[in-house]
């Protein structure tokens, strides 16, 4: 895993849940929440867990005003680009518009070898359900952020109703994107409770996640 991982994808693609799980599993120093699009279900709800695990959270809210409903980006978000001794995950807001906020770091992003810019994909989201739409969204994302996408994550799921076939269906579509754009599938995400049902050997690293951001009864 590279020093800096930037996760992008349509809202509801699973970015926040993957950010949090990756940060916990890979002992990442910083989570930078750049999600100014969605005021609900953000990783900001997880302060105490992060504190306990020693993960520093850079929030997309004004201090002491978590529900202000105002787009806000902390200056602290730039630290991981400057301090080469730390690791970080950037959680970008949904859609290419949410990803625009990355441009502010353009002057600091110099060493592309230390950055993974990853697109999280769930083919059961209508906007990214086929090869053409996914490729179009990646082109748009790259244009808006001025950054090259370096890898893909297969997070194809229907939440509680996900089956192994669903993830395979996702892999087939994402594999065709991967081949066309010459981008590796870095992870295939499997929700903890589905793990025992999975026999297929998926592309990329198998990332087993638990639902930390979403509430149990959802």
């Amino acid at each position: 895993m590279k020093r800096i991982t930037i996760l992008s994808g349509y809202y509801g693609s699973g970015k926040s849940e993957i950010s949090v799980n990756l940060a916990l599993q890979k002992h990442i120093d910083y989570i930078v929440d750049l999600d100014i699009i969605n005021p609900y279900f953000r990783s900001r709800a997880l302060h105490e867990l992060f504190k306990e695990k020693g993960i520093k959270l850079v929030e997309s809210t004004i201090e002491n005003m978590p529900n202000s409903d105002m787009p806000y980006i902390s200056r602290k978000g730039v630290y991981p680009f400057i301090d080469k001794s730390v690791t970080a995950i950037y959680d970008l807001g949904g859609t290419e518009n949410g990803a625009k906020v990355l441009i502010q770091y353009q002057d600091q992003i110099k060493d592309f070898d230390e950055i993974d810019f990853i697109c999280v994909l769930n083919v059961f989201r209508p906007e990214t359900s086929n090869k053409k739409d996914i490729i179009d969204s990646i082109i748009l994302l790259e244009a808006q952020t001025q950054l090259k996408v370096t890898g893909l994550i297969n997070n194809s799921n229907l939440i509680n109703e996900t089956t192994e076939e669903d993830i395979i269906h996702g892999e087939n579509i994402i594999k065709s994107v991967s081949e066309e754009l010459n981008l590796p599938i870095l992870y295939t995400v499997i929700e903890e409770s589905k793990k025992k049902l999975i026999k297929h050997n998926f592309l990329g690293e198998e990332l087993v996640i638990s639902r930390i951001v979403a509430r149990k009864w959802l």
Binding site: G12, P39, Y40, N67, F124, R125, P126, I159, W217
Partner: protein, 356 residues
Amino acid sequence: MSKVLMKGNEAMALAAIKAGCDAFYGYPITPQNELPEYLSKHMRTHGRAFVQSESEVAAINMVYGAAGAGARVMTSSSSPGIALKQEGITYIAGAELPAVIINVMRGGPGLGGIQPSQADYNQITRGGGNGDYSLYALAPESLQETVDLIKESFEIADYFRNPVMIAVDGLIGQMMEPVDVDREVKKWDLKPKTWAADGNRKDHPKNIINSLYLDPQDLENHNIKLQKKYTEMKENHQRYELINMENAEIAIVAYGSVARIARTAIEILAEKGIKAGIVRPITIFPFPEKAFKELPSSVENLLVAEMSMGQMLQDVKLANECRLPIHFYGRVGGIVPEAEEIAQKVIDIIGGQSHE
């Protein structure tokens, strides 16, 4: 079509397109913005109209106009925005026009907050605007139910020639769930809209859309006519679900997101050997009084759980007709009750630690 994973607000928007919504007029407000955003992209490709108006008041009056011309029309907003629309809503009800209004509720009063709430219950079920009118108001608990009910709500609005309110909260708007947007829903027996002001036509006389009746006798007659609709809704179109009620010693009364949380609460209680059921109103107007007559004799207490200070509680008291002790648990301001809290309240009630 197979299932897709959608966010509540998007799913509601797509449901409207599937239901043949001809026109949408709205003004942005959190937590429902993805709904007009989705429609701004997709209504045009379906040859339909989308207008982001200059205000909520403008939006609801555009709804009034389009509905009067016979279109299938919708608007959406969240609590303070719905408050702004009340004038238009009473005009629409007074002029007997069909329209679908989505309220993705957030905390109040005033500007309140942006987190989920059910504190518009009174605004929705007691009018909100002036005069003797009611909205047919549906309160789904899941995205699939929301999609199905929105699709049907256009039929219901046309059938009664009355606005239908979809009452959900910020959680339903923001959560993700797999949905089948093409599932068949009930078709109502609809007559051609011969009342519509859709130009000089040979097939019907000149129509005027109006809610002004200066002659008191005319206005009383109009009110009596409107009241017949609301009576029919109450008598024949209450909707509710009784969940896990067999041998239940307590019934939790909850709708929308809170009903969903109550489902987890009764599982927690079952592990502790407590049999709890749920009365889930699906219509909040008409309030499902009939459900309370169907409760088994094993039920000894009612617990009303909602994200308000006890607005639905009043309707439960009326429906209960003083038969059972009623307890209340509410969280407000955007705080969503946890299943454990509701379960604990039930334990307190059964242990005699809770007072009515």
